[in-house]
């Protein structure tokens, strides 16, 4: 199983780097699962000072999925998928927490490892941010992807540019636009 998965991932990453759009969707569940597993493993080590952050998680997930010397091209493409996966994990958790907080009768939140990443006081903001990101995607997909890479996967501008196959200047502009747009959107919503 581990071997197949590793193989799959490598192949999918190659397809992705060749520009196959379906590779992204097929890669996503693998990355998503792996990220959760890494988070869980990190937690169960029960270090009092567990310091999880998104970059470390994604990096570790990548290593475990690919288990080979990191090939730069593959790695950066992987990040675009991982960023989306990180976003899903965090937002799923945030939504569940929010529903529980509001007592909407939703099932109790599964004790998800994402809990360590989000403080309770941030869940509302994150859910609102996610909604806004969906709207931003309709305006400019690259802008919302830039946010995923920069924020959810913790990539630098240069890394995000590689992950999204854009120039650094373009990513910088999309990043500026996304921030201003989200600020305005969130201010209007509140």
């Amino acid at each position: 199983m581990a071997h197949t998965q590793q193989h799959d991932v490598t192949g999918l990453l190659q397809s992705l780097s060749r520009g196959d759009p379906t590779a992204f969707d097929r890669l996503f569940p693998l990355v998503y699962r792996e990220l959760r597993r890494v988070a869980h493993a990190q937690l169960s080590r029960e270090r009092p000072d567990h310091t999880l952050d998104s970059v470390a998680l994604v990096n570790e997930a990548y290593l475990r999925l690919v288990q080979s010397p990191i090939e730069c091209q593959n790695r950066v493409h992987f990040f675009a998928v991982a960023a989306r996966a990180m976003r899903s994990i965090l937002i799923d958790y945030a939504r569940a927490r929010l529903a529980a907080k509001r007592g909407s009768g939703a099932p109790t939140v599964p004790l998800d490892q994402a809990a360590v990443l989000i403080n309770d006081d941030k869940v509302e903001h994150l859910v609102a941010l996610d909604d806004a990101l969906h709207r931003l995607e309709a305006v400019n997909r690259e802008a919302s992807q830039t946010v995923e890479c920069r924020y959810f996967a913790g990539l630098s501008l240069e890394e995000a540019a590689e992950a999204l196959d854009l120039s650094v200047a373009t990513v910088r502009r999309r990043w500026s636009f996304a921030k201003a747009w989200l600020r305005r959107e969130l201010d209007e919503a509140s």
Partner: protein, 853 residues
């Protein structure tokens, strides 16, 4: 979809410098208002500080936002300098230039609260508006990669002021001088509508070479933000304050004004004088702090001095106590008054009282009477003038209403009379104290008129209630003079409303005449009358009535002479006579004024005035006025010499005048008048050098004049005098450039002046000085272009000729308008200019179309 169009325009705008974005936006949105609004709103969020809290830091992450040795933007962090309530300050170095700076970062890692970010942005705005040699400068600002905003400030290597004074064993006088510099910096901040709120020695550093630097505006407040009435102000948390230096109102969480800074300055001064703070607050409980700060009376500074303090001040215990007893005790305790209204009006006033103490003048603090106190509440707020006026209105309306109600009930007659006195004290406070406090400040012209108008209204209302109160009438007369001067007094900062000025001054004159008729021995009424004549004369001259103006000037001179004959303080009275003679001389025959063309008579007045001013005065204020007047008369005489063609003698006389003015400017750099005087001298030197045929020297004088006028105009754009001054100097500079053959510079300089005037005249169409000035500019510009048309290339020639034609026509029209408003002999110079333009056009092969009048 909303947003997709906006995204393209937004991103394109990013590549432009921020100054060019507005124009780009207008062009790019092509009249689509919604789109324009959206992009503008988005660009408004460009600053990272606004979006810093968009992405909360996920738990875990980097706990420590900053590690020493780390890079923040172009800065490398060296060590921590200190931590305050709002943030941590580090010593950092700018790698590329090796410059050391203080870098302030929001406290604590993780998500900085929105409130902290707002505070930080506020501090940045506060610092950005403060450019003062005694305030640590803001150099840069940005956001770290962890999305925390930071500020970069000038790094000040110095000691807290108290330690500096002790280590150098400064004497009391030296300490006071140093402290006065602090007052000036604080006053400057107040003028910029910033209250520091946390003044204490550790925020007042002195460098090794004795330079004072004010630091940490971290909890400062922008006055205009909460200035309007009734807006609750967020209470500064007790934790943020340093209780030993906090004023009672701060401790109680009441609104903080500039008076709170005056209080803290009082504490610092107390400490500098005695080595102790007025209170020892051992407990940190809110109740204890409030009890002590708000209720305990501080010990007199002279009593608080001990042996150690004396030693650190290079004095003996007895001597030091004697030194501080009296004036200094009074000054410090006044600054430390529990009620803000009893403190000094401003940090500048505190400084001035200390100066008075140093030169052994009676100090203001001693005159703390009940009437004085009544107005203090209002004076305190002169900074936010509009708010002050609104407050005055509400306050007075309240007092007046109760007063009239009370007057109806006989039983409360005494109360009513007290109220009446209160209203009057209040009105006079606004009219005189508030007015004087802002009179010489840049940008205050409009505020002055507003303040005077309002005060006058209340006095008039009172006078309607009580007939036959002579003192009240005198106050109203003086108020009208002040109002007239702010409205349109041509030889001072004014709003360009000559008609309004004339009406106000005529009212003042009528009232003062009435008073003198009742009691011809009353000196105050006679002074008011003379002053009204004098000012009305100036205004009449500039509305075109020169004979009338000369009549007023003669009346004024008669008044001042008779006052001088009965007054004891001869120099002050002589100065008034000399000023009056100078003015009369101007109107009789000085070419720069509307005048009767009698130069011999003018010369006689000038020389007579100069003779009166020979001796110096022991009163520094009077002596400053005396020297200023001497410089002025020398300038007048020089101008007459220049007119006679005695250029070298004129240059020498102008030079003497300039030297005296530069000396006066060095003594008081805050005075707008002093700056303008120097500029005027430079301009005269420029003109004389031009006439003498030395355009190179002329250009250098003119450049300096233009620079000085520019600074004055920028500081007070509503001031009509500032506009004509600047435009006229640009015209002079243009001529100098033309003399040097630099045609392009000459043209652009002349056009700049004309554009400035045009804009001003749009708002003030009846302003004669500006109207005449623009006629000159248009005609000179026409002449310049006609000259260029003769020398330039083919198609250029045609363009210049066309422009010269149309400028000539507009110049003629402007001249006709200004002549219609009041033809005076001085206008013949302008007529000459018009003839020259006409002749130039004719030589250019054209008939001047405007020539047929």
């Amino acid at each position: 979809m909303r947003g997709s169009g906006a995204q393209k325009i937004f991103e394109a705008a990013l590549d432009l410098p921020s100054a060019g974005r507005a124009a780009f936006l207008d062009a790019a949105c092509q009249g689509n208002a919604e789109l324009h609004e959206e992009v503008a709103a988005l660009l408004g969020f460009l600053d990272d500080a606004y979006t810093a809290d968009l992405f909360p830091q996920l738990a875990g992450g980097q706990q420590q936002p900053l590690v020493l040795g780390e890079q923040i933007g172009p800065y490398r962090v060296l060590r921590e300098l200190g931590a305050g309530g709002m943030g941590v300050v580090f010593l950092a170095e700018r790698e590329d230039v090796g410059k050391r700076v203080a870098l302030k970062l929001v406290r604590e890692g993780g998500l900085a609260s929105a409130d902290r970010i707002r505070r930080f942005l506020l501090e940045r705005r506060v610092l950005a508006r403060l450019e003062h040699q005694n305030i640590a400068r803001l150099l840069d600002a940005g956001v770290t990669e962890f999305r925390l905003p930071y500020l970069v400030m000038e790094y000040v290597e110095g000691l807290p002021i108290d330690r500096y004074c002790d280590e150098r064993r400064l004497t009391i006088a030296e300490r006071i001088e140093l402290f006065r510099t602090v007052c000036h910096a604080v006053h400057y901040a107040h003028q910029s509508l910033v209250v520091h709120r946390d003044l204490k020695p550790s925020n007042i550093l002195v460098t090794a070479d004795g330079q004072v630097k004010l630091l940490d505006f971290g909890i400062a407040k922008l006055l205009e933000e909460n200035a309007s009435l009734g807006v609750a102000e967020p209470r500064t948390g007790l934790l943020m304050l340093t209780p030993e230096y906090a004023s009672p109102e701060q401790v109680r969480g009441e609104p903080v004004t500039t008076a709170s800074d005056v209080y803290s300055l009082g504490v610092v001064l107390y400490q500098l004088l005695t080595g102790r703070r007025p209170y020892r607050i051992a407990s940190r409980s809110a109740a204890d702090i409030e009890r002590i700060v708000c209720h305990a009376a501080p010990e007199r500074p002279s009593a608080a001095i001990d042996q150690m303090a004396a030693q650190a001040r290079d004095s003996s215990l007895d001597r030091l106590r004697r030194r501080v007893r009296g004036d200094l005790d009074t000054i410090v305790l006044k600054a430390l008054s529990k009620e803000p209204v009893r403190r000094y009006l401003s940090a500048a006033q505190l400084s001035d009282d200390l100066r008075r103490h140093l030169v052994r003048l009676p100090v203001l603090a001693r005159g703390d009477t009940a009437a004085y106190r009544a107005g203090m509440f209002l004076r305190r707020h002169w900074l936010a003038v509009a708010a002050a006026v609104a407050m005055v209105e509400i306050l007075i309306a309240g007092v007046v209403a109760t007063a009239w109600q009370a007057r109806r009930a006989d039983a409360q007659r005494i109360v009513a009379e007290e109220r009446f006195r209160d209203v009057r004290a209040l009105a006079n406070t606004i009219l005189f104290d508030v007015h004087d406090a802002i009179a010489d400040l840049p940008g205050a012209t409009r505020a002055r008129a507003l303040v005077v108008n309002r005060g006058l209204e209340y006095l008039n209302r009172l006078s309607g209630q009580v007939r036959g109160d002579l003192t009240l009438k005198g106050e109203i007369a003086q108020a009208y003079i002040r109002l007239g001067m702010a409205q349109g007094y041509p030889s001072g900062a004014n709003l360009g409303d000559l008609a309004g000025a004339r009406a106000s001054l005529q009212k003042a004159l009528a009232l003062a005449s009435e008073l003198v008729a009742v009691d011809s021995q009353d000196l105050r009424s006679r002074r008011t009358l003379a002053l009204a004549h004098e000012k009305l004369g100036d205004v009449k001259a500039w509305t075109g009535d020169v004979p009338g103006a000369v009549g007023e000037a003669r009346e004024a001179l008669r008044g001042w002479r008779s006052l001088a004959s009965v007054q004891q303080d001869s120099m002050g009275a002589q100065l008034a006579v000399a000023i009056s003679m100078t003015k009369l001389g101007d109107l009789l025959g000085h070419p720069a004024f509307p005048n009767l063309g009698d130069r011999v008579a003018a010369d006689t007045q000038y020389r007579g005035a100069l003779a009166l001013l020979g001796a110096s005065s022991s009163d520094p204020t009077v002596d400053r006025g005396r020297r200023r007047q001497v410089a002025l008369i020398q300038e007048r005489l020089a101008a007459m010499l220049k007119l006679d063609g005695s250029y070298d003698a004129a240059l020498a006389a102008f030079g003497r005048s300039l030297a005296l003015r530069e000396e006066l400017y060095r003594e008081d750099r805050t005075s707008m008048d002093a700056v303008r005087d120097v500029a005027v001298s430079r301009e005269s030197l420029c003109e004389t050098q031009l006439a003498r045929g030395d355009p190179r020297s002329a250009a250098s004088h003119c450049r300096k004049a233009v620079e000085l006028y520019q600074s004055l105009h920028a500081a007070d754009p509503g001031n009509a005098q500032g506009v004509t001054d600047l435009a006229r100097a640009e015209g002079g500079a243009s001529e100098a450039q033309a003399g040097l053959g630099r045609w392009t510079e000459a043209l652009s300089q002349m056009d700049r002046g004309a554009a400035l005037l045009k804009e001003f005249l749009r708002a003030n169409p009846g302003n004669l000085p500006a109207g005449r000035q623009i006629a000159r500019h248009l005609l000179s510009s026409s002449i310049l272009r006609a000259r260029l048309a003769r020398s330039g290339a083919g198609n250029e020639q045609q363009r210049y000729r066309d422009e010269a034609d149309s400028l000539y026509a507009s110049g003629r029209r402007a001249l006709a308008r200004s002549l219609a408003l009041g033809a005076t002999p001085a206008d013949t110079a302008d007529e000459g200019l018009a003839r020259e333009a006409e002749a130039r056009l004719a030589r250019g092969g054209r008939t001047a179309p405007g020539g047929r009048r």
